[in-house]
């Protein structure tokens, strides 16, 4: 298993793509905006996403 290669391709490759466009802005206005009530957010701890 080439974990090192995965780190380069996925983590570093992803960061590179993210940096290719203008920087994200910190948003002051809707800083405390909550997700819509129907978004189905869970309680305190949060959950995960099942995969392969």
């Amino acid at each position: 298993m080439h974990f090192k290669k995965l780190f380069q391709v996925l983590v570093l490759g992803g960061a590179f793509l993210g940096a290719a466009a203008g920087c994200a802005q910190a948003n002051a206005a809707d800083k405390d905006k909550k997700p819509p009530a129907d978004a189905g957010t869970t309680d305190s701890s949060g959950g995960g996403v099942k995969g392969w």
Binding site: M1, L10, G14, A21, A24, T41, S44, W52
Partner: protein, 235 residues
Amino acid sequence: MSSARRAAAEAWAFRARVEQEAALRFDRLAEVVASFDPDSPVPAMMRRAADDERRHTELCARLAGRLGNPVVLDRDAAVAAIAPRSLDERKAALYEVVAACCITETESMATLTTLLASEQDPEVREVLHAISRDEVVHSRMGWAHLSRESVAAEVAFLGPLVPGMLAGTIDAGLFGAPPADEDPEGLLRLGVLSLSKKRAVFLGTLEQVVFPGLEKFGVDPEPGRRWLAHAAGLR
């Protein structure tokens, strides 16, 4: 039916559902991310990813059917958001992107590359190839979003939340014993890892890809590491 065929048919049916959920999730997240980071390349990647996942759903479902487990997909399926309620919209989106892409899609890529390193039946291999080409981007878009947010916003809040993401991604049996009739070779030919291999890939990917990646962008991996040591009984 052989034990490998039965288990593989179940695994592909499960994958079909996972892919369907991913499509819905990426459609939703694309909109949210675009609302606070309009210059980001991530929303466009997510919309393409959602289309990919719809294709993958069909591929996985078809394979499950051929192996003897026809999948009935709920066309009106919805997918729940998973972030803790205490987070604001932007942080909730980051939580979900990290869980879905940085963790789950990265793990999927590791599984796919491990599978593709051995031989499969031709039809299975074709599906694995088609899917792995897309999953690379699905993982990358998570790291892309995390790296952008690490510059623009606060991401350290995620550290203590990583255990919840991990707990929600594994299935209950991952750290247990394999089924008595498990046929690792037969499973591999049908595109499925044996339990011990699956565990090794999961742990290796967390330790060598996900945790270092989180740390690189300012998310403390230690709570995740502690959770893992406990869950895997490595204390």
